[in-house]
């Protein structure tokens, strides 16, 4: 492992550990200091139901991982409403993360080629750009939430209904980086290639695409982030499985976002999501490095 990579992981870990330690201290402060005695804002923050103590988060992890045995000694006595609901529906953390990952991968598999195609077209041909750009801007400003609701009217509660917004969001995200990658391919490369007699397909395949690759790979990383966000968002509203569902506590559509959320569960969920997303991002980072070894 290169020394910079080693440094990256070391410092990241350090930061993470410091974060966890500091958080544990702060979130457990209520045991020592009575929150009521502090000024409002600060006191409000230190309450255990606002900042879930680390132990509660760990406990939440354990519960969600499918542990159904009796609660460990020293754990919270009551199981929160959210956890209870999730347990009732058999929602577990491993299953949820797998399902969400699957949705994300699907969104990427379909959305990326779509976005790259459009972005490429717009970057390559001025004409296409002039015609497509305003349409793109229009489509891009549709809030995913509104789109999810709207599609539901058409397709009801089906898997397609959840997957379409993800594909859409990924494609939309990838268009701009690809567009710039193609358009900004240093003009001098095109000039040189054309002077050497390259035309059409050869020009595209051997000059434009390789030169645009770094930008497209940057788009991939961006697309991954967007895919995760949209997938979880869609699940929070409209799915009975997946991480989003877990965050919201399951339950009927009409009562979503109204169950008393257990912050420990939410924390556990977010941490898992961040972890999974980071893994994918790291993979993309490695892929980028490998494919652009020629870059100065």
């Amino acid at each position: 492992m290169k020394s910079t990579t080693r440094q990256r992981y070391a410092l990241g870990l350090l930061s993470l550990v410091t974060l966890v330690v500091a958080y544990t201290l702060v979130s457990n402060a209520y045991r020592v200091i009575d929150p009521a005695s502090l000024p409002d804002a600060l006191g409000g923050l230190l309450r255990p139901d606002v900042l879930p103590p680390t132990q509660a988060v760990v406990e939440a992890f354990r519960e969600l991982a499918g542990g159904s045995g009796p609660p460990a000694a020293g754990a919270r006595v009551q199981v929160s409403e959210q956890l209870a609901g999730l347990r009732r529906e058999g929602v577990t953390l491993p299953a949820s993360i797998v399902i969400t990952t699957a949705r994300v991968l699907f969104g990427l598999a379909v959305g990326m080629p779509l976005g790259i195609l459009v972005g490429f077209l717009m970057g390559w041909s001025r004409k296409a750009d002039d015609y497509l750009h305003p349409i793109y801007v229009l489509l891009r400003s549709v809030p995913p939430l509104a789109m999810i609701t709207y599609i539901m009217l058409w397709l009801g509660h089906s898997e397609a209904h959840r997957l379409i917004p993800i594909v859409y969001a990924v494609a939309a995200a990838v268009v701009i980086p690809t567009y710039h990658g193609v358009r900004d391919v240093a003009g001098r490369y095109l000039v040189a290639a054309r002077s050497l007699g390259a035309r059409g397909r050869l020009l595209l395949a051997r000059v434009v695409l390789p030169a645009a690759r770094p930008a497209m790979l940057a788009g991939l990383r961006y697309g991954i982030a967007i895919a995760w966000m949209t997938a979880v968002g869609a699940e929070m509203l409209m799915a009975e499985n997946g991480m989003g569902n877990l965050l919201v506590g399951g339950g009927m559509w009409s009562t979503r976002l109204q169950t008393r959320t257990d912050p420990a569960v939410v924390m556990a969920g977010i941490i898992t999501l961040a972890g999974a997303g980071w893994v994918m991002d790291a993979a993309a980072r490695v892929l980028t490095a490998r494919l652009t070894r020629w870059q100065r």
Binding site: A186, Y189, V191, A192, S195, L196, G197, R206, W294, R296
Partner: protein, 271 residues
């Protein structure tokens, strides 16, 4: 200002003008007329901003003149073509390809098979002395080597006309001298029609048959010189009296006054 004795010009520019658009439109060229004869090595010399690159790009087919005509072999120039090999001023070697792939690119565009391409690239790389680097990526090369690869790349398709835009401009004096030698030798071995842009009078005298000096914006022909030095030209040629004499005359035209810089300063202070 058409030179006498050209058998039939390969490249012709007749009364060419070019204006760069923008808030302050710049007239890069104005009423420029020049010819390049078959197998002639013509150097275009001029200060920064005199429109030399513009002229070359017009000949290369990437710019259309606002007025006048440009012709190659009698036909109007309508876009780039591989019989007019073009080496840019900027660094345009393809970083994602190896040295060999770069050199073979033009051949690939022609549909030549791998074995054929290999043969040509091997020979050229050997000629410029970079055979050892054939599988390296440009990022491992120095600027000078990179530029030579670009020249080899353009030579691979054996164009009969070469358009070179200050190819050695960004290099240090020694590398430049070496590459000038190499180019000179190359040209003497495989005669081609060359239009070579530079701001360096010495370089121009060393390489060319004829030198055309352009004025600053707008670019017009200010003077023309015939280089009668014998070929092949060696390092020794640079120190000959004829060489220095020509250089002095060119510098006068370029407005650099006397050869001695010391003589120049009082003149400026006095005015």
């Amino acid at each position: 200002m058409t030179p006498a004795g050209t058998r039939g010009a390969r490249l012709e520019a007749v009364d060419v003008g070019y204006v760069y658009p923008g808030r302050t439109a710049t007239q890069a060229l104005d009423g420029l007329t020049l010819d390049v004869g078959d197998n002639e090595f013509l150097a275009v010399l001029g200060p920064v901003g005199c429109g030399k690159t513009t002229l070359l790009r017009i000949f290369a087919g990437f710019l259309r003149p606002a007025s006048g005509t440009v012709r190659c072999d009698g036909a109007a120039i309508d876009g780039p073509g591989s019989q007019r090999g073009y080496v840019l001023q900027e660094d345009a070697i393809f970083p994602w390809m190896t040295v060999r792939e770069n050199v073979e690119f033009g051949l690939m565009a022609r549909g030549i098979d791998a074995a054929g391409r290999r043969a040509v690239s091997a020979e050229l790389l050997d000629l410029i002395g970079l055979s050892a680097f054939e599988d390296a990526h440009p990022k491992e090369l120095s600027a000078g080597m990179s530029k030579m690869v670009e020249v080899a790349r353009v030579l691979a398709t054996d164009p009969s006309i070469l358009l070179l835009d200050e190819p050695f401009g960004a290099l240090d004096a020694q590398t430049r001298a070496r590459l000038q030698e190499a180019l000179g030798r190359l040209w003497e071995q495989r005669r081609k029609t060359v239009l070579f842009v530079t701001h360096d009078a010495e370089e121009a005298i060393h390489l060319a048959d004829r030198i055309v000096v352009l004025s600053s914006r707008p670019g017009r022909i200010k003077a023309e010189f015939r280089v009668d030095l014998p070929r092949p030209r060696s390092l020794e040629t640079r120190f000959s009296a004829a060489f220095s004499d020509l250089k002095r005359r060119i510098w006068e035209v370029l407005g650099l006054g006397g050869v001695s810089a010391r003589e120049q300063v009082p003149r400026i202070a006095g005015s």
